[in-house]
C-alpha cells in the first residue's frame, strides 16, 4: 500500500473514527434487514427470518473487527494500544520509571548544556555571506607564539599579491570613552578597521552604510559604525541616529551605520560596540598594545611599520585556502629573503629561515574564545558523553532486572500467540516513552543551566556569548534520545530470544541468570571506571583552580579597587593640567572615609597591558632587554600593597625638577642583572631620560594570573612629561566593592566630563582571568557528583538483582546451616571484586585521559598520586555503601518465606 493511501485511511480513521463505526454498524444492519426481508418472502415468520439472517451472517463482532482493520489504521490502533499498555506498565512500577527519567534528564541535560556552549563557541559561524571563505593569517615562527599582527603597508602589499582573494585588517578591541552631545559619557569596546573590512566579511548594515575605502584615507571625515547592542542600549533604537555626531576619546566622529543584531564582530566572545576606520587612529590616540619598533608616535600609524592589524581574508572558490596560503607565504618569503640579505648573524639567519605564514579558517571568527575554550569544551563534552553512557548502562541493568521479573508474564504472552516482534515493540515503546519524558525534562534543565552559565559569563566575565537552542541543539537532543533509547532497548530485546514456553513450567534455570549477571558485571566495571575518570579529571581541575587562586598576585587584591578613567577625553592634555588633576584626584579620594590611600597609574593593575618597551640597563649583559613600564603616582606601592624589598618607594619629592628615578621588580634583577642588586644602576626606557634605580619591589602578576612575572619598571608620573593616566588605584579599609560608587562620584565631582569606566577589585580582575578554570571546575563538580551517584545506583541495582536472583539458593544454604554473615559475605564479596576491577580500570583510563588535559593544569601533575587515591577512595566508599544495603537485605530475608514462594 502506498504511503499516501495509508495516511489517508489513517487520517480518516483518526478524524472520523466514530462516524466510520456508525456507518459500519448501519451497513451491516442494512444487510441483515435485507436478508430478513428475503427470508420473510420465502415464508418464514419475521422473528424466525431475523434469527436465520443473523446466524447466516456469522460472528458480527468478528467481521466488524476485521472490517475495521480492512479500513486501515490498524497500525495506529496497535501503536496507541502499545502506548496505553506501556503507560499502564510504567505506572505499576513507578520506581523504575522515575529512576530512568531522572537519569536521562540529568545526564542528557548535562550533555545539552555543554553542547550548547560547544556550538556557540566552536561550531557557530559568523553571520555573514559564505563564512567558510574567510581565513585569518599569522606568522608562525618556531619557538615563539604566532605573531598575528601586521602593519598597514604590509596589509596593502599582501592585498596586491593575493588575487582573487580580498584582505582586510582590524585592530584588537580597546576600551573607548564616548561623549554624547547631551554631555553623558559611556565606556565602549571598539575596533579600528580597514575601509574594506565589512565588505570583505560580506556583512551588511542594518541601518545606514558600512565603510568604503574612501573612509580610510587621510583627511576623510571621521566616521563610525555601531553595533545593534549599543544602538539599543544607548540610543533606544532611534532611527535618526545616522549622521549623529559624537565624541570618541577627543575626536568628533559621525555615526554612519548600525550593524544587524547578530553581528558582534569577528572575535568570538568579545563584544564590539563601535568600529572606526584606521584613519582615526591619531585623532583618538589609539596606541595601546602594538609592538612599537621604530615608531614615531607623533605621526599617524597608517604609513608606518607598526604591527597593529590582524588580518582577515576572503578567498572565494579556494577550498582549504591553499591558494591564499601559498600567495601569503610567498610574500613572507620575500620579506625573509630581504632580512637574510641584511643580517650575517648565524642565529638570526637560522631563525629567519623557519618563518612561515600560517592561515586558518575564520568561518567562526578569528581565534578568541575558541583558543581558550576549545580543549576544555571537548573535554567537558567527552565527560558528559561518558556520563550519559554510564547512566544508560544503569538503565540497561535496571531494564534487564525488570525483564527478568517479567519473564513469566512474557512467556505467558508468547504462549498465547504474541509474537517476539510485538513484545520487543512493547518494550521499546515503554523505553521510548521514558526517554522522551526524560529528554523533555533535560531540555528544560539544560536551558536553565546554560542561561545561568551564560549570565555568569556575561556579567562576571564579560564574555559575550549567545547561547540558544537552535536546530543544531534539537538535532543533537533527538539523536541522543534515540541513541539512549536504542541502547536501553537492545539488551532486553535480545533476551526475548531466550523466552520459551518452557519457562512456564515453573522451572527456573539459574544458568541464564548468571549469564545476565556476567553481562551486567561488565557494564558495572565500565561505569565505575567512568566515575573514577570523571572524579580524577575534576579533582585535577579543581586543584588547578585552587592553585591559581593561591597564586601570590604580589598586590593586595582584597583591598584594592581599580578605577578606569580617561582624563584626556575631558581636555586634560598639557603637563600642567594633568599634574594638577592627578594631585587633586588623589587628595579628594584620600579624604573619603574608608579610603586608606590612592594613587594614579598609567596602566591598570591587571590585564591592562602596560607597554613592552626596549630598555638600556647599565651593567646588564642581556642583549636588547624588553621591560614593561608603568608611570605611577607617589603612593602607588603602599596603595596596591606591593612590598618595597630594598631601597625606597616614590615620594612627592620625585618631581620633574628632581633626579629621574625608577623602581624595578625582583624579576628585573633576576633576568637583566643576574641577581645583582639593581639599586644604583641606571635605566633608559624607550629612548627616554636615563633614570637611577632607587628601589626594588616584589614581583606581581600584572598581565595575567597565569603568566610568569616579567621585568617591570615603574617611573614617577611627575617625571613622565605629559602623560594620560588610565587608572586610579584605591586602597580601602573594608570591602572595596562597596566603595566603588562613592569613588566614582568623587571623580565626577571634580569634573563631570571625565569618562569613568569600569570599577573593579583586583580580585575580580583575577577571577576574570580564571573564567575557564572556574567553568570547568564547577561543571566538573556537578558532573562528578552525577557520575558518582550513577555508579552507586548501578552497584546497588546489580547487588540487589544478584540478591533476588539467588534468593532460593540462599534459603537452601541457610536451611543447611549457613549463617547470615556467610551469605552477606558472599553477595558483598562479589560486588567488592567488581569494585576492585572497576577501580583499577578507572585508574588506568584516568591516567591516559589526564595526559590530554595536562596543558590545562597548573601546580599539579596529571599523575598526582594523591588525587588518584582520593578519587579511588571516594568511589569505593560510595559504592561499598551502595553494595552493602542490598547484601544485607539478601542475607536477612526469611529462608522459609523464600522457599515457600518458590
Amino acid at each position: 500500500m502506498s504511503l499516501s493511501i495509508w495516511l489517508r485511511s489513517v487520517s480518516t480513521k483518526v478524524f472520523h473514527g466514530r462516524a466510520l463505526a456508525d456507518e459500519l454498524r448501519e451497513e451491516l444492519d442494512t444487510h441483515i434487514a435485507l436478508r430478513t426481508e428475503d427470508l420473510e418472502r420465502q415464508g418464514l415468520s419475521r422473528a424466525e427470518a431475523e434469527r436465520r439472517a443473523r446466524i447466516e451472517f456469522g460472528a458480527v463482532e468478528k467481521f466488524r473487527e476485521e472490517s475495521r482493520e480492512a479500513l486501515g489504521g490498524e497500525r495506529l490502533d496497535k501503536l496507541l494500544q502499545n502506548i496505553r499498555y506501556a503507560l499502564r506498565q510504567l505506572r505499576s512500577t513507578p520506581g523504575f520509571a522515575s529512576a530512568v527519567i531522572v537519569t536521562i534528564a540529568l545526564a542528557m541535560g548535562a550533555n545539552l548544556t555543554v553542547f550548547s556552549f560547544f556550538q556557540a563557541i566552536l561550531l557557530n559561524k559568523l553571520p555573514v555571506h559564505n563564512p567558510e571563505e574567510l581565513y585569518s593569517a599569522a606568522i608562525s615562527d618556531p619557538g615563539h607564539p604566532d605573531h598575528p599582527f601586521f602593519s598597514y603597508p604590509d596589509v596593502q602589499k599582501m592585498a596586491g599579491i593575493c588575487k582573487p582573494a580580498v584582505l582586510a585588517g582590524f585592530t584588537n578591541e580597546v576600551q573607548y570613552h564616548l561623549l554624547d552631545s547631551d554631555g553623558t559619557t559611556s565606556t565602549l569596546r571598539g575596533q579600528l578597521v580597514t575601509g574594506n573590512f565589512f565588505s570583505t566579511l560580506g556583512a551588511h548594515p542594518f541601518l545606514g552604510r558600512i565603510f568604503s575605502p574612501q573612509d580610510n584615507t587621510d583627511g576623510a571625515q571621521s566616521v563610525a559604525v555601531i553595533s545593534f547592542g549599543l544602538w539599543s542600549r544607548r540610543y533606544g533604537r532611534d532611527t535618526g541616529i545616522i549622521g549623529k555626531r559624537v565624541i570618541v576619546q577627543r575626536a568628533p566622529v559621525t555615526i554612519v551605520g548600525v550593524m544587524p543584531r547578530m553581528f558582534s564582530g569577528v572575535i568570538p566572545g568579545e563584544r564590539t560596540d563601535i568600529w572606526m576606520p584606521l584613519s582615526v587612529q591619531p585623532a583618538i590616540g589609539f596606541g595601546g598594545y602594538a609592538s612599537m619598533n621604530r615608531v614615531d608616535s607623533s605621526k599617524p600609524w597608517l604609513d608606518q611599520d607598526v604591527s597593529w592589524l590582524r588580518l582577515i581574508a576572503r578567498s572565494p572558490s579556494d577550498p582549504g585556502g591553499k591558494h591564499l596560503a601559498a600567495q601569503l607565504d610567498s610574500y613572507i618569503q620575500r620579506e625573509v629573503n630581504a632580512g637574510l640579505a641584511n643580517t650575517h648573524d648565524a642565529a638570526e639567519r637560522q631563525h629567519l629561515m623557519h618563518v612561515r605564514m600560517r592561515i586558518e579558517s575564520a568561518a567562526g571568527g578569528t581565534r578568541g574564545l575558541r583558543d581558550r575554550f576549545s580543549l576544555p569544551l571537548i573535554i567537558l563534552l567527552s565527560l558528559v558523553a561518558l556520563l550519559l553512557l554510564s547512566g544508560c548502562l544503569n538503565i540497561v541493568n535496571l531494564a534487564l532486572a525488570r525483564f527478568r521479573a517479567r519473564e513469566h508474564e512474557m512467556s505467558v504472552r508468547m504462549a498465547l500467540g504474541s509474537t517476539r516482534g510485538r513484545l520487543v515493540a512493547l518494550l521499546a515503546t515503554e523505553n521510548l516513552i521514558l526517554c522522551v519524558i526524560g529528554a523533555g525534562a533535560s531540555v528544560v534543565l539544560a536551558w536553565v543551566a546554560s542561561s545561568l552559565i551564560q549570565h555568569w559569563l556575561v556579567t562576571a566575565q564579560s564574555i559575550q556569548i549567545q547561547i540558544g537552542f537552535g536546530p543544531g541543539s534539537l538535532a543533537f537532543a533527538t539523536a541522543l534520545t534515540l541513541g539512549a533509547c536504542l541502547l536501553i532497548s537492545a539488551a532486553p530485546a535480545l533476551r526475548t530470544r531466550g523466552l520459551t514456553t518452557a519457562r512456564l513450567s515453573g522451572f527456573r534455570t539459574s544458568a541464564a541468570g548468571s549469564h545476565a549477571f556476567r553481562a551486567s558485571s561488565g557494564l558495572l566495571i565500565l561505569q565505575l571506571a567512568l566515575a573514577i575518570l570523571t572524579v580524577t579529571a575534576t579533582s585535577l581541575l579543581v586543584r588547578t583552580l585552587r592553585n591559581y587562586e593561591h597564586v601570590k598576585l604580589g598586590v593586595d587584591g582584597a583591598h584594592t579597587l581599580s578605577v578606569s578613567l580617561d582624563p584626556s577625553a575631558a581636555g586634560y592634555i598639557t603637563y600642567g593640567q594633568q599634574q594638577a588633576l592627578y594631585s587633586r584626584l588623589t587628595q579628594t579620594i584620600d579624604r573619603m572615609p574608608g579610603v586608606i590611600s590612592s594613587a594614579v597609574a598609567g596602566c591598570g593593575l591587571m590585564n591592562h597591558g602596560c607597554a613592552y618597551l626596549n630598555a638600556l640597563v647599565s651593567g646588564s649583559d642581556v642583549k636588547a632587554p624588553v621591560v614593561e613600564r608603568n608611570y605611577v603616582g607617589p603612593d602607588y606601592f603602599s596603595t596596591t600593597g606591593m612590598k618595597i624589598l630594598r631601597g625606597r618607594a616614590f615620594s612627592i619629592d620625585d618631581s620633574a625638577h628632581a633626579e629621574s628615578v625608577a623602581v624595578v621588580n625582583r624579576d628585573f634583577e633576576k633576568q637583566l642583572l643576574r641577581n645583582q642588586d639593581a639599586i644604583g644602576h641606571t635605566i633608559r626606557v624607550d629612548g627616554g631620560k636615563p633614570a637611577v634605580i632607587v628601589g626594588v619591589v616584589n614581583d606581581s602578576r600584572t598581565d595575567s594570573i597565569k603568566a610568569a612575572p616579567a621585568p617591570f619598571v615603574f617611573l614617577p608620573i611627575a617625571q613622565a612629561g605629559a602623560w594620560n593616566i588610565s587608572h586610579v588605584e584605591v586602597r580601602t579599609e573594608g570591602n572595596p566593592v562597596r566603595m566603588a560608587p562613592a569613588v566614582r562620584e568623587a571623580i565626577l565631582g571634580i569634573n563631570r566630563a571625565i569618562p569613568v569606566g569600569e570599577t573593579m577589585t583586583v580580585e575580580e580582575e583575577a577571577d576574570r582571568d580564571l573564567a575557564r578554570e572556574f567553568l570547568m571546575a564547577r561543571l566538573g563538580l556537578v558532573f562528578s557528583f552525577l557520575s558518582l551517584l550513577i555508579a552507586a545506583v548501578g552497584v546497588y541495582g546489580l547487588t540487589s538483582y544478584e540478591g533476588s536472583r539467588r534468593q532460593t539458593e540462599f534459603a537452601i544454604r541457610m536451611a543447611l546451616g549457613a549463617t547470615r554473615l556467610s551469605i552477606l559475605r558472599q553477595v558483598f564479596t562479589r560486588s567488592a571484586l567488581l569494585l576492585g576491577i572497576g577501580g583499577v580500570a578507572g585508574l588506568l583510563i584516568s591516567a591516559a585521559f589526564s595526559r590530554l588535559i595536562a596543558s590545562l593544569l597548573y601546580g599539579v601533575g596529571p599523575y598526582d598520586p594523591g588525587i588518584y587515591a582520593v578519587a579511588l577512595l571516594l568511589i569505593l566508599i560510595a559504592s561499598a555503601g551502595a553494595a552493602f544495603l542490598p547484601s544485607w537485605q539478601a542475607a536477612s530475608a526469611d529462608p522459609v518465606h523464600s522457599l515457600h514462594r518458590e
Binding site: L34, G58, S67
Partner: protein
C-alpha cells in the same frame, strides 16, 4: 446447500469486482449477484464479504456512496473505479491463463509425455 463450491483463496476479490462491474450494488446485492452469476454454485460467507469490500475500497479499486435500495432503505452502494476496472481485466486474464494451464495439465495423457 448442495452444489456449493468452496471459494479458492483470493478469488473473492475477483468475484466482487466482477459482480460490481455489472452495475453498482450494495453489500447484500453483491452477495446475491455472485450467487446469481455463478448459477448459485458459489456462495460467499456473508460476514466475510464486508472486510473484502472495505479492503477493495481502501486499495482504490471500488468506491462507495450512500444511496437508497430498491425497497427504500438507506444502503451503501459500491461501484468500480477505473483502477478497479483495469484490475478486473488483468485478473480475469490471469485467471483464464491459469485455468487453461491447469486444464491442459489435467488433460494430459501418458502417451503425450
Amino acid at each position: 446447500m448442495a452444489g456449493e463450491a468452496q471459494l479458492l483463496p483470493g478469488t473473492l476479490d475477483l468475484l466482487i469486482l466482477k459482480a460490481v462491474s455489472l452495475g453498482p450494488l450494495h453489500g447484500y446485492g453483491v452477495l446475491l449477484r455472485i450467487a446469481q452469476i455463478s448459477g448459485q454454485a458459489l456462495l460467499v460467507e456473508q460476514g466475510a464479504l464486508y472486510p473484502a469490500l472495505f479492503r477493495l475500497v481502501r486499495r482504490g479499486l471500488l468506491k462507495a456512496s450512500w444511496g437508497t435500495s430498491e425497497n427504500n432503505r438507506r444502503a451503501k452502494f459500491y461501484e468500480l473505479t477505473s483502477a478497479g476496472r483495469k484490475r478486473l481485466q488483468t485478473e480475469t486474464e490471469d485467471w483464464n491463463r491459469l485455468v487453461a494451464a491447469i486444464g491442459t495439465a489435467l488433460a494430459t495423457r501418458p502417451e503425450e509425455i
